[in-house]
């Protein structure tokens, strides 16, 4: 079963323990986190009125970043996390371009730069450090199916507190990180332009024609080559004939 995380915005008090734990777990210098950058895999969006929205990689079920990566440096693991292998990466940055949530960042000032993003602490035996550190249970790690059920239960049991929507259930084809909160996703500052279609499909619609281009293109071009070659031969032949006839006449 695939793992995921549930962010319950209504429970977040904005203490920043998750951010701190994340920086520590990833060996980054402790710093104030305002947006994603090479040392920031998660940060809190202050939406006012004591509403804090944590941002991190969504760990899409069908990630645009992994589908874009030419060499599979980014990969959706069966366990849930989307992981990155710097040894493979060649630095084309297509993953950064492709991610609809604006998550991957780059080490712009390194001679051997890496793409940086949350890996759901895939290499940490105890699981996500942020969930472990969260004092209120606003960030919770677990199996995605169970988290979805849990989110539904909370919304149902307390319709006054929760806006009845699970962000991440269908976004970009579904994500392993899920959000519930006091307002609609737009008001929480979560990206809403991403749509519900898994983005890799858009590419595949074009890419699947590649074998056709090779096969039919090959046949067609070879055909033209052969046909026009014949024409030329025939023309040469006739030309020879004609000149012979001319000679004959003379």
């Amino acid at each position: 079963m695939a793992r995921g995380m549930l962010i319950d915005v209504t429970k977040c008090v904005g203490c920043g323990a998750c951010v701190e734990a994340c920086q520590q777990a990833n060996g980054q210098p402790p710093h104030e986190a305002r947006h994603f950058d090479q040392d920031t895999f998660t940060y809190l969006l202050d939406r006012g009125n004591d509403v804090y929205v944590r941002r991190l990689c969504m760990h899409c079920l069908n990630p645009a970043c992994a589908s874009a990566c030419p060499i599979g440096a980014l990969r959706k693991t069966a366990e849930g996390p989307v992981t990155y292998d710097p040894q493979r990466c060649m630095g084309c940055r297509y993953c950064m371009t492709a991610c609809p949530f604006g998550v991957p960042t780059y080490e712009w000032f390194s001679p051997a730069p890496r793409v940086r993003k949350c890996e759901m602490c895939a290499r940490r035996p105890q699981g996500p450090a942020c969930a472990e550190a969260c004092p209120t249970g606003a960030t919770q790690a677990g199996f995605r199916d169970q988290l979805v059920a849990e989110a539904q239960r909370r919304i149902q049991e307390d319709p006054k507190t929760y806006y009845p929507y699970i962000y991440g259930l269908r976004e970009a084809g579904g994500t392993s990180v899920l959000y519930i909160g006091p307002a609609e996703p737009e008001a929480l500052g979560l990206p809403t332009h991403v749509g519900f279609e898994p983005l890799p499909q858009l590419t595949w619609r074009a890419l699947k024609h590649v074998p056709d281009v090779v096969v039919f293109g090959g046949v067609l071009l070879s055909g033209f080559w052969w046909l026009t070659k014949r024409k030329e031969e025939v023309a040469r032949h006739e030309g020879a004939h004609k000149s012979k006839e001319v000679n004959h006449d003379r």
Partner: protein, 393 residues
């Protein structure tokens, strides 16, 4: 040979400019490979692709499209009269691709891993397809140009083998080019919300392919004109005129596709309120497609190599504008992030263009790039010097 004397003094300025650019290229490379991409570019996390991808790669590949179009005309369709311009076009294409690789070495974060797509496969990635196309097609172009090198060293046996293989090579080249040109458009399919609707379209691969053919043909004409200026080569006006007629058809096809697509997606209203992006869109389509298409359709324009070069030059510029629009303008206006290339980015781009031109000059000097032209035109000049002078002017 008389032409050389005329040309040398004019080249002086260009040699100096090229020298300066090449030095700049070296310095920037040193900084880039020690301090990172951020030290020489204005690229950022929200804007990870800039001028080097938008111009050097997208345009470099597109402008090389003449290579496969002319090769197909000569070898696949047996239109032998295009042979005189075949070699220069192949040479341009090869240099274009070689420069794309150099640009990639600058742009890739870890260029020493550039070979990874050979062994690490992700066929679901457009970038994977792009990588393979660059590798294979550069090899094909090299083999297509190789005869010129072998002739020089009088290696008859490999020449014969290559001659036998050439139809196969050319067909392979056409397929690879088709895939490559279109895949550069497919690259943007996965970012529907990051590309302005005036440019984002599911048809992007098709549009990229058709516009590349137009640009490739245009480039062939423009380059013939420049070759004449630089090497004193006479021009095959009739050939270029015929090529330009084809351009008209290709441009018309492109325009029809583009408008049909814009209308079907109801994207035209996004032209308003008029912004910089809308003006760039209009410039790209009107100055880069409509005007040259109409002009090239007239016999008046097609009768003069200079006018041909001017209007085909507009096609080339329109094409460049289109690629920059897709990769920069459209992304800027859809995401709201700004990107203006840093000066070193411009310098590298210019340096690479200079490198390409130097390569072209060197190849022309050492190898027989314009074989047939020379022979034919010499004959023409002998028989009717006055007439050809009048046309060429």
């Amino acid at each position: 040979m008389t032409a050389k004397k005329l040309v040398l003094p004019r080249l002086g300025f260009w040699w100096v400019a090229a020298g300066i650019l090449l030095i700049a290229l070296g310095v920037i490379a040193a900084v880039r490979f020690t301090k990172g991409l951020g030290a020489v570019t204005n690229l950022s996390d929200p804007f990870p692709w800039g001028l080097w991808i938008g111009f050097d790669v997208l345009c470099g590949v597109g402008l090389a499209a003449g290579g496969f179009a002319i090769a197909a005309a000569v070898y696949v369709f047996h239109l032998e009269d295009f042979k005189p311009i075949l070699r220069p076009t192949i040479l341009t294409a090869f240099l274009g691709y070689a420069l794309v690789i150099v640009a990639l070495i600058f742009d890739l974060g870890k260029p020493w891993n550039i070979w990874h797509p050979i062994v690490m496969w992700n066929p679901h990635s457009v970038m994977f397809e792009v990588g393979w196309c660059v590798m294979l097609y550069t090899t094909v172009l090299f083999l297509e140009f190789l005869p010129a090198v072998l002739e020089r060293f009088r290696l008859a046996k490999p020449l014969r083998i290559l001659a036998k293989a050439s139809p196969f090579l050319v067909i392979l080249g056409v397929i690879l080019s088709t895939l490559h040109q279109s895949s550069l458009g497919s690259l943007f399919l996965i970012l529907p919300h990051k590309v302005h609707p005036l440019w984002y379209s599911p048809l992007l691969p098709v549009l990229f392919f058709v516009s590349a053919v137009a640009a490739g043909l245009a480039m062939t004409v423009v380059e013939s004109w420049f070759s004449r200026r630089a090497f004193g080569r006479p021009i095959e006006t009739a050939l270029l005129a015929r090529l330009s007629r084809t351009s008209v058809v290709v441009l018309a096809l492109y325009l029809a596709l583009r408008l049909r697509d814009l209308i079907a997606r109801q994207a035209l209203p996004t032209l308003f309120p008029l912004s910089l992006a809308s003006w760039l869109f209009l410039a790209e389509l009107i100055l880069g497609v409509v005007v040259p298409m109409v002009a090239l359709a007239t016999a008046w324009v097609r009768s003069s190599p200079r006018r041909l070069a001017i209007f085909q030059g507009m096609v080339v510029l329109g094409f460049i504008l289109n690629r920059l629009n897709v990769s920069i303008t459209a992304v800027e206006s859809a995401t709201g992030y700004r990107y203006l290339p840093a000066i070193p980015e411009f310098l590298v781009t210019m340096g690479l263009v200079a490198l390409g031109m130097l390569g072209f000059c060197a190849a022309c000097k050492y190898f027989n790039v314009f074989p047939e032209t020379q022979w034919r035109e010499e004959e023409k000049w002998r028989t009717a010097p006055a007439a050809s002078l009048a046309i060429d002017g």
